[in-house]
Symmetry: D3
Subunit: 148 residues, 6 copies
């Protein structure tokens, strides 16, 4: 997808992905997030969650990965950079939850020098339909023929 | 660290961590961010970056992981949740870069029901001292004796 | 993509993906292929290859993964199963090579009970344009509205 | 094992290996096979399988890895290359299944230039004794003292 | 922590960490410990353990990792090397067990050339309080201002 | 290999295995050994090592994994447990080093109840022939027909 192909106001639904124990353990290891709430089941049992939760940044990363996989998402050769994001985690995500997202093209900013900014709003939900992630990201995307 | 121990305005510097090809490949795999800019060196050579870059969310996750490891960071049994974040990626991060962050306790919000919110501002830098990440996160932290 | 959407004779080119040392080490670990040609650089130096090679099944798996990512590939909710494959590895793949594939829909077999077979021929090439994989796979794909 | 040591018609049984969720998640990530049937439990529940399946190429890779570990398998310093394979997946493999294989030396082709071809037929079975993989592979193996 | 900061006889308790199937599978893969007792559930069922066990060296590595994470452990910039260890595994560790350790500074050896030896005794326990690891390690640690 | 098959005084040489950056990053992540000497190249440059080193327990685990892979090693269905070890790390191991070991059956202890103890001495060397690991391990091994 290149800049021209994004349509303001358009909405898409991503595939789903189940958050596994493997995801949590590997993510904690790769990022050094060695919090007991992610890695210590006995500690987690004593908290209000009752069991280990997934790191919020893992949830955000999975939602964003699903967004990249959309046939009309900001992926492929059009993608230049993720410039920034704002997100909230209204509910915890647990191992075994399956996430998907609704992605809306909120705004396109006038391109310059062959690249434009696309603002996407992703609403991540679990298998119960509960919103677990509200994210707004600004992606730098190439104009067709523009610089990568 | 519990809520009482955070001091508004205090500043800490994290350890460093080198971003490896392993991190990029594993992160892309775990999150489904199969963008060629992360995984296809030949494509990356044709872009203005000239080589593969690290996903912005990997950078953010590493910076946050380093923050969790601070002796006086929001980690350990005091940690309840990452409620939300806002971040910007002013410069790309490449495989082989070594990141660290300066973390400032920007604000503490009045606790209720045994938990308080701590707002941390993390400024991530590479080995050249260039700022590659500006993040502001809101962490839910237990008051001593408060609910986890 | 559902069965109806595949067009016999149509051809597509996948994205590229660089084969990393991480891929080789992790693949060997997950599958137990602890051959020195994949894992022992000193041994590999003494062979005609001169350095470690990627396992042929890793190459095949990467080529197939790239095929699944095609916007018009056998992926998504239409995918039911990979029924079988035949492949050859005309040239070795080394760490650092970047692979992509040309994928042709060779044949569609008459569907029954809501599912049809699609035969795809994938020709995997490295960054020099040399053919490193010739694979023909039979995929079971849903007819629209057919059983998954 | 070198070429001379393979005996046509000989048969061996490999160890077993349990297919774990970790295997499926990591394999999908490393190879980019981000199919919902491997990664989305909610989608998988709606299919005739009823739950996530292991990628056929993961099954093949595990069976082949077990073959490499045979004391008299095509592994070790004798191994030069996997030249090609043909396989079928008569039944699905699920997370938690334990696989092993019976491996028969089907044929040895006259060696030249210090290397010979060995054709191995591997029949992979699950813990119920059901055949889940039928594979025939051609391996290039050194003659003793031949080139690696 | 630098050499001066270790206090002979002092005792600390680490956080806990749950041993996951991911840990066992990845550890076996990375280290080539492809024993059926770690990887083959059907074989494990036939043993006196009744199910797969964690490799003893994984248990030791997790206990040592938890020791490194102690605010007053031999980690950080003070760490130079692990010179050696002696350990015993009085009881098996299973997937799902949660481990923690008590770490005692047994002895400090007179430093020379800016580095000293610290002997730590770690007693690893599972969630039932059973001792699963008894380890004594000699760590080389910098004197403040000493060579790293 | 069962207890009866070990011969006191016999000596074997394992295959080799190259220690990769992937091994170090993954091992540190899985075990929580987030020491800068393993993960921070800039810090490592300032030390006497001059670059990142492999964790000693990774070296030990790789040497032990290679021992398990010996055709006459304590692996396979004969393996019951690693009861304990003593090891020293006379020299550092760096990313890119290739390790192998010489393994001697030092002693067999009289078996009881269908299991015997085998003491193996493994001397791990790098590609220059320098000894990097001296380990003595006690393995519990089944007598043929004995309990697993």
């Amino acid at each position: 997808m290149f800049f021209e192909e994004f349509v303001e106001g358009s909405e898409q639904v991503t595939r789903g992905r189940t958050v596994t124990e493997t995801d949590v353990v590997m993510f904690a290891g790769l990022t050094g997030a060695v919090n007991p709430l992610f890695l210590d089941e006995e500690h987690a049992k004593t908290t209000s969650f009752g069991k280990r939760i997934a790191p919020g940044l893992l949830t955000l990363s999975i939602i964003t990965g699903l967004t990249y996989q959309l046939p009309t998402g900001p992926f492929g050769n059009g993608f230049v950079a993720l410039l920034g994001m704002t997100f909230k985690t209204p509910k915890p995500v647990f191992i075994g939850d399956t996430l998907h997202a609704t992605v809306v093209v909120k705004e396109k900013l006038a391109p310059k020098e062959g690249r434009g900014r696309v603002i996407l709003v992703s609403t991540g939900k679990n298998q119960k339909g509960e919103t677990v992630m509200e994210a707004e990201g600004t992606f730098l995307v190439r104009v067709k023929g523009g610089d990568a």
